[in-house]
């Protein structure tokens, strides 16, 4: 067990390192001269040199890479070129927005997916199952940003119940919540379509197991079996799949923030791209990648720890 954990952990660290190398390579080596990219072709030589010194570009690549990693570990993510302030500050200002959106999105996703998946499994081979599966196929095919626009057309333009975007700040919590409703629903509907399928499959698998049949034979009500026995056992693979959805949650949050103009990290990334602010983009991409890799790692561990059969897989 310990050996297994060790192997996995080493693998995790290696993946993180590789990811950091890829990010660093793309953002620092590919452009040839990052200072030139940031300042533009016709910047004066003086300005370019000044920036090169400031960014430490005259040192060998390995040194720059190591410096970057070491500073990042201590919380120094460099300075945003266009904003003129430390990147970490920019991130701290906006992270609550992104986290709020991601968390509420995931919660709603799980609720909807569980409801639909379990119901589908319970109604296996009947209309309910088919209907839910169709919805799920549709949900996978519908782009989250399009769904957002459709929701805006209905709730913001026609009905005028909710704003089409923007975020008025946490000072007035009611207005703030109103601004988060559509983004959360958009995020959740699409993700839950994927998750519902998985929930249904694993619920079906569990339902076929012996002890469930025993419970049925013992006369427990269907509902009780479903919620008290099937669900908890089906939950294991579901939780792991939820973890695997992290990459999708990350992407989804970035997209939704831009659709609804929420002042979070997703919008920051795009502002930075427009400004050719390489340090900020680099820090943000690395951060998101680290989150995805870490989530995958934790899920991998959970999955294997809970189901010992899988440990022997490799």
């Amino acid at each position: 067990m310990a050996y297994f954990l060790l192997r996995r952990t080493i693998g995790f660290i290696l993946t993180l390192l590789t990811v950091s190398i890829v990010v660093f390579a793309v953002m620092n080596v590919l452009p040839g001269d990052p200072a030139l990219t940031i300042l533009g072709l016709e910047a004066s030589d003086d300005a370019i040199n000044a920036l090169r010194i400031k960014l430490g570009l005259n040192e060998p690549v390995i040194t720059r890479y190591i410096n970057w990693i070491l500073s990042a570990l201590t919380g120094d993510l460099g300075e945003s070129h266009s904003f003129g302030v430390p990147v970490s500050g920019l991130i701290l200002e906006r992270i609550s927005m992104t986290v709020a959106l991601a968390v509420s999105g995931m919660l709603l996703t799980i609720i909807i997916a569980l409801l639909l998946g379990i119901s589908a499994a319970a109604n296996h081979r009947k209309i309910g199952d088919w209907g839910i599966m169709f919805f799920s196929q549709l949900g996978i095919a519908i782009p989250a940003f399009w769904l957002s626009i459709l929701l805006v057309i209905l709730f913001a333009v026609k009905l005028r119940w909710l704003p089409p975007g923007g975020f008025p700040g946490w000072d007035s919590p009611l207005l703030a919540i109103k601004s988060l409703i559509l983004p959360t629903i958009a995020l959740a509907l699409v993700q839950s379509a994927v998750l519902a399928r998985v929930t249904r499959s694993s619920a079906l698998e569990v339902m076929r197991l012996d002890y469930i049949r025993t419970a049925k034979a013992s006369g427990f009500s269907r509902k009780r079996i479903l919620w008290r026995h099937v669900l908890p056992n089906a939950l294991v693979p579901i939780v792991t799949i939820v973890g695997m959805q992290f990459a999708a949650v990350v992407t989804g949050t970035i997209v939704i923030e831009n659709v609804f103009y929420l002042p979070g990290l997703g919008r920051l990334i795009f502002q930075s791209i427009a400004n050719r602010d390489l340090p900020t983009v680099q820090a943000l991409v690395m951060m998101f990648a680290v989150i995805v890799v870490t989530a995958n790692f934790i899920v991998d561990l959970l999955y294997s720890v809970i189901d010992p059969r899988l440990r022997e897989r490799n």
Partner: protein, 498 residues
């Protein structure tokens, strides 16, 4: 029992949700205003950067000048309480307001005025409107409260020009850092600037007119994206957007009882600028061909949804000297094609660099198609504002661009010579402008202004598109905002929230 539980919790949640929708929006404080702005500047010093929004936010709010201007365009006292003008109209004596302090506590007096003027007039000055100071022969401090300015020649615009943000009176101690931390004498103090997000001003309690100022805090939010601007208004994130970038959204706001829509005028001529110093635009045939290729009405219809007035030269239609020259180059694709062929540029590629404003990007898309019809392959390149200023404006690295010139009385741009980003150099026009500047008789001046318009159009220096309207959307509680923009600044002194 599980079912019942689910039912009651279901209702509970639904009522809660309904409650959220139906709750009226309670504003937090009635003296803080949030204003949306399309254009975020890269510096906060109007005396060294040409970006209009610096004046829009800070001139006459944070900084003050000797004079100011009312919404009707009338010159009023500001840092100068009163003034006398000599018989020959060459000597102006200003009496300065007393007891005025800068935001950092230092005193304001005539020495600051002398410093500001000398700084603007210096050889190496980077003042964007240096030319308004060219007519000045000397600036002398008679005593700490009196300034005497002698002019070389009579200048009808002098007092008006001194109200500009470029003529802000800055303090010697703090002038260098004004681009990041503006220090002025105005009714509002600079509080903070979060780049890419917002700029905050707070009331200056020590201002001589502080009792008239009802706003405690002013927050400018920078939003150039049309859809983001709409969303911000509708979610009540901001209270006012005086230069709203999306004319197609106006009907939605007009139908919404929370807001009022204001359509006013600006001094902004929107032009399709051609780099006159660079081939092929140094060839008048090419410039005329472009003028024929574009269809103003289509552009106004498609980019501004009809909410703009076409212009045929570089002068606003609501101005007293306006002459309608929109018919000089009627939309004629065939003629354009012929002229392009004559000049030997048919089928070539030209770049159109656009700043990130909807009026420019949308016009650009339409002009690209119109040029394509006339046989020119125009490549559209959208750039950020900072990039536009440094590349297009300062380095003249462009073929064509689209921009609005929002300063009043700025036909003089064409007399600024080849170093100005137009790349236009015509002594005939410079001479005419010299005469206009010194002509005191308004009717004679207007006649010359008309001559100037005709000349510029004849030379087809640029494609003259339309006058930029001031599309403002305000929450009903916002009162006192100017409905037109006769100058670049928007005094917030008179603005209040019900």
């Amino acid at each position: 029992m599980k079912l019942k539980k689910m039912h009651s919790s279901f209702w509970g949640v639904s009522l809660g949700v309904l409650g959220v929708f139906l709750t009226p929006n309670i504003s937090v404080a009635k003296s803080n205003i949030v204003i949306g702005l399309q254009q975020e500047p890269t510096s906060l010093d109007p005396t060294s950067d040409a970006t209009a929004s610096i004046d829009g936010m800070l001139s006459h709010n944070v900084y003050e000048s000797l004079t100011t201007v009312s919404e009707a365009g009338e010159v009023l006292p500001a840092l100068a309480n009163s003034w006398t003008i000599s018989e020959d109209k060459l000597t102006y004596r200003f009496n300065l307001a007393s007891g005025v302090k800068y935001h950092d506590g230092t005193d304001f007096d005539s020495a600051d005025v002398v410093f500001s003027f000398e700084r603007a007039m210096a050889e190496d000055s980077v003042n964007p409107t240096k030319k308004i100071f060219k007519v000045i022969e000397s600036v002398t401090a008679i005593d700490s409260q009196t300034i005497e300015i002698k002019l070389k020649k009579q200048n009808a615009f002098f007092l008006f020009n001194m109200a500009k943000g470029d003529a802000s009176i800055v303090a010697k101690e703090t002038a260098e850092d004004n681009n990041t931390t503006p220090i002025g004498t105005g009714p509002f103090k600079f509080s903070s600037w979060k780049r890419g997000d917002r700029l905050i001003l707070v009331k200056n309690e020590n201002h001589r007119e502080a009792s008239d100022v009802s706003l405690e805090k002013v927050e400018f939010r920078f939003i150039s994206d049309a859809a983001a601007a709409s969303a911000a208004m509708l979610s009540e994130e901001i209270d006012a957007f005086p230069g709203f970038p999306a004319p197609e959204m106006l009907p939605q706001f007009q139908a919404d009882p929370r807001f009022r829509v204001n359509i006013g005028s600006t001094e902004g001529e929107v032009i399709l600028a051609m780099n006159n110093a660079k081939a092929p635009f140094n060839d008048i045939r090419v410039r005329r061909a472009v003028s024929h290729a574009i269809d103003r009405n289509e552009i106004i219809d498609g980019a501004m949804y009809g909410k703009a007035v076409p212009i045929g030269s570089f002068y606003p239609p609501h101005g007293s000297a306006y002459v309608d020259l929109t018919g000089v180059y009627p939309h004629d694709t065939e003629k354009a094609k012929k002229l392009f062929e004559e000049a030997g540029v048919a089928g070539t590629e030209m770049t159109l660099r656009l700043p990130p404003f909807p009026y420019a990007m949308r016009s650009g898309e339409i002009i690209q198609a119109q040029l394509a019809e006339a046989g020119i392959n125009a490549k559209v390149e959208q750039v950020e504002w900072g990039f536009w200023i440094s590349e297009v404006y300062k380095k003249k690295a462009y073929d064509m661009t689209i921009i609005a010139h929002t300063s009043p009385n700025d036909m003089g741009n064409f007399a600024r010579g080849p170093k100005y980003f137009y790349g236009y150099d015509d002594p005939k026009f410079s001479d005419l402008w010299g005469r206009i500047k010194t002509e005191a008789d308004p009717s004679k001046r207007n006649a010359m202004l008309q001559e100037g318009q005709k000349y510029l159009t004849d030379q087809a220096v640029h494609g003259f598109l339309f006058q930029l309207p001031l599309l403002g959307i305000f929450k009903n509680e916002v009162k006192g905002y100017w409905s037109s923009a006769p100058v670049l600044f928007h005094p917030l002194k008179g603005v209040s929230l019900n």
